[in-house]
Subunit: 218 residues, 2 copies
DNA sequence: TATATTTGTTAGGTTAGCCTAACTATTATA
DNA sequence: TATAATAGTTAGGCTAACCTAACAAATATA
């Protein structure tokens, strides 16, 4: 069965709102705001999605995805994040340019295309924003990403993405011996200015808050 | 200005029909058949395209693209053929699988995307079917492709694509010393069974009609 | 050149997805 | 707990793109 771009966007957005608030549920106005449509349009679409068994929904009640609805949403997210990775890694798009184009690409309907793309990119686990990419079965890491600056001293984390794509920043990252998937241990953090001491490959380094704000870790 | 997928498809189809029949013009029924819609729908769309100054059109008259209309059509064709090339070369799609997916990809709206893709593919001149790919300015080869079997003895041509993607065929092609962009000179052709003698890199080879039917040349 | 055939248009309807305005249900607060 | 605020729904309309059926123009053929 095939669904319209619009239907796919509703499902994806319901899923995201559900993730954000932890309840796996969404409200009409919330959805409307997120999709930039009016609440009346949402109510209408919910009736359709319900009739297609993609959402659980009763008048004035909360919206929740059904199993097929959730699978579809995850599939769209998988496509979105794979395309972002493609744009970022192969076509030299920057961190902040990938999203918009991926919004269009995520709706291309071809199982083969997306699985081959996944293979071509060597089955990446995280997109350029550090968000996990669901695999072909729809399975993905739920661990939440954050900036390195938010990591607790004494804990370890893994770098999954950078926010800044300037050459100077990337060169600095490399010079510190850091790269995607590297482990970072937070030794200490100075409350006053956010300076951090981190351990990379057994070596201690000092980094500024400006730096740690631009490193995404999980 | 941005146009709908549907409008883009109309323009692309008018352009193709115009190319095919040499007049650069198309008729309503012809267009309708090609787009799998009814003539009434075409008439309606023509009024809209005319109001947007994309086609020259008078009631009961022939349809012809305006300059901006033609530019748009060529841009869509450029995108289509670049995506086909990507699918074929990078994602291991076969000759006959690329078209359908490219029909969707050709409408993605991002100048940067398509120009970066072009660069990533190293500015290919022909798609996997041997059709020329317009460059960023919309310029492309008009020379018509054909199968090697249709080439006249005494003439030379250039291989631009293959029809068969089986490993056995491709290995055979390679073993003959043939590859994309190679020059082929047709020495002789046997009327009875289509066997051809061709010259590749100064060497003469004999190939069957079945073989030459699967080599696209210009 | 009259008529049959082909080609193209018009009128009126449908569906998806959106809107506004008016309304109702739910929830929060005095 | 009554009422104000918020959240959600309904009714009625709009546009893009499609359709069918009936008609009109252009072209081909007897």
């Amino acid at each position: 069965m095939d669904f319209s771009y619009t239907e796919e966007n509703y499902l994806k957005t319901i899923f995201k709102i559900g993730l954000d608030n932890g309840t796996e549920e969404a409200g009409t106005n919330e959805l409307a705001a997120s999709l930039s449509v009016k609440p009346a349009s949402v109510t209408e679409m919910l009736k359709k999605l319900k009739s297609k068994k993609l959402v659980h929904y009763e008048k004035y009640g909360k919206i929740k995805l059904t199993k097929p609805g959730r699978e579809l949403a995850i599939d769209v997210i998988r496509k979105h994040r794979l395309w972002e990775t493609f744009l970022y890694e192969k076509l030299e798009f920057s961190w902040d340019e990938v999203h918009e184009v991926a919004e269009e690409l995520e709706h291309i309907r071809s199982k083969k295309l997306i699985n081959k793309l996944d293979q071509f990119l060597r089955y990446p686990e995280y997109d350029p924003h550090g968000d996990p990419i669901p695999n072909e079965k729809g399975v993905f890491q739920k661990q939440s990403k954050k900036t390195l600056s938010k990591a607790e001293p004494g804990t370890s984390c893994k770098m999954v993405a950078v926010k800044d794509n300037s050459t100077s920043f990337l060169q600095y990252v490399v010079s510190l011996g850091l790269g995607i998937n590297n482990k970072i241990k937070v030794i200490a953090r100075e409350e006053f200015d956010g300076m951090m001491t981190i351990e990379i490959n057994g070596e201690n380094k000092s980094v500024s808050q400006k730096f740690s704000d631009n490193i995404i870790v999980i």
